[in-house]
Chain length 281, copies 2
């Protein structure tokens, strides 16, 4: 029951959303393939973080394929070359895809983050026991506001959803900050970057959510919201996954320098015989 | 809002573009599969260059599948057996796909080129910090001209886009030339070929961009432009990726002759025992 749908888009608005959705499919999908193909470049103990990162971007790819197809069906024009007004057809433009995606991917993003920190198993478990239910609550509370045409309803549910959102960021920020102390020197900078990415990128979602109540007219608010969610998903999932991969590489290098040397150009001259060990990796 | 779309294509023109787009899907897609399946034939330190090359052609394959489907929807005829005039339908023929593709693949082409040269990590980083933003600028500046029906607008944005384009070619040419000195003897010729490919193939893009203002009529210019972009993509991505793979093989051979001997016909007779080690790779 989505009363917030906009009735018309201009051809520029249509093409902007259309190209952004396709950009998301390509960036998310091939980041996933890259992570899967590169998992052997990290030590076995970090591979789960990399594979879970790949699952996150693959799940998002699936949903963007659905959203892209759905968008093309929901908005259509009769004008030649598509250079006219795009009208909402009899097909609902389903914002539910995004919420289902987040319900699956946000807990997994938390799992990959906690996994790459290589905390003790008991600490991982207690962290995830706090974060995962909070993330489910955050997403479930956002949805009724997302599909409402009423500003008050949108703000009410948005505010409720912000409570678990801030709780998650607080717990993660505190935990990442505490963990930086315990990390090898080379990894500290990258984990610090991960902490900033979390705050900066996750912060885009509530802003995008608020575009429809920030004074933009219906179709502009729609385009800004779709663009905000799409860029946030690309960076918070694909770019974030690549940073997780980088941390896993740096920690592999720290844990086992001979493993990393195989994969480094800097050591080519110094360790000519390492190629044979590669066969066993 | 793409005002540069042509309204009609002859059946010959339609079939030419249609077959070229399908050729691109096949050449790009299976080059990627070949690279993925062959990555173990290079030393671990060169595998990232090969995997990134595979990602480039896979991303391009995705976009050619979209372009092919889009083209079939955008131009249609009522004539039996398709032997009539193809008219532009109500579906925009979206040149945005090519620009989104380039936005993702050109930086990755730069990454694979720099990766296979095996420069020190700090040099790689500083090179990419110059080249990647320049490539994004080059592509972003080209797009407004691409979708404009106005010759002056096309030339203006085309000229602006040429500035970062020439900068990238200059930096890469200088860097490749400098790197040739440091490469093993057997690799020098291939890197020199890579340098020529960059200049020669990347030069096709601006020529294709200019077809619509070079005095060809609308539909001929459209076909020439699509053919130019498509051939340039096939050679600058698929053929280029295979040359990257060849360089990675030659350098693996140089770094670790025993690794390379497993994969060479020349040494089979000379080293009868090596076959068994191959089984472990």
């Amino acid at each position: 029951m989505d009363g917030s749908q906009v009735l018309e888009l201009s051809s520029t608005q249509y093409e902007t959303v259309y190209n952004l959705l396709s950009l998301a499919i390509a960036s998310l999908g091939f980041t996933g393939l890259y992570l899967v193909l590169s998992q052997r470049r990290v030590l076995p103990r970090y591979r789960n973080a990399v594979v879970v990162s790949a699952m996150v971007v693959f799940i998002a790819t699936y949903h963007y394929v659905r959203i892209f197809t759905n968008f093309k069906e929901s908005y259509q024009t009769d004008a030649q070359g598509g250079q006219g007004v795009y009208k909402l057809t009899n097909i609902v433009f389903n914002e539910g895809y995004r919420y289902v995606d987040w319900l699956l991917t946000v807990p997994l993003l938390l799992v990959e983050t906690v996994a790459v920190l290589a905390l003790a198993a008991s600490v991982q478990k207690s962290l995830l026991a706090k974060l995962v239910p909070a993330s489910a609550l955050m997403i479930a509370l956002g949805y009724p506001g997302e599909i409402s045409a009423d500003t008050g309803t949108r703000l009410l549910w948005g505010t409720l959803s912000t409570i678990p959102f801030l709780y998650i960021l607080y717990v993660l920020f505190v935990e990442l900050t505490a963990s930086i102390e315990r990390q090898p020197q080379d990894v500290k900078g990258t984990i610090s970057k991960l902490r900033l990415m979390l705050i900066g990128l996750w912060g885009v979602y509530p802003i995008a959510y608020l575009f429809p109540v920030l004074g933009f007219d219906g179709s502009n608010a729609f385009v800004l919201k779709q663009a905000g969610y799409t860029f946030a998903d690309i960076f918070a999932k694909a770019a974030f996954g690549l940073v997780i991969f980088k941390i896993a590489r740096l920690k592999s290098q720290y844990d086992d320098p001979t493993f990393a040397a195989l994969d480094s150009h800097d050591d080519v001259a110094a360790e000519p015989g390492t190629g044979s060990r590669a066969a066993r990796v």
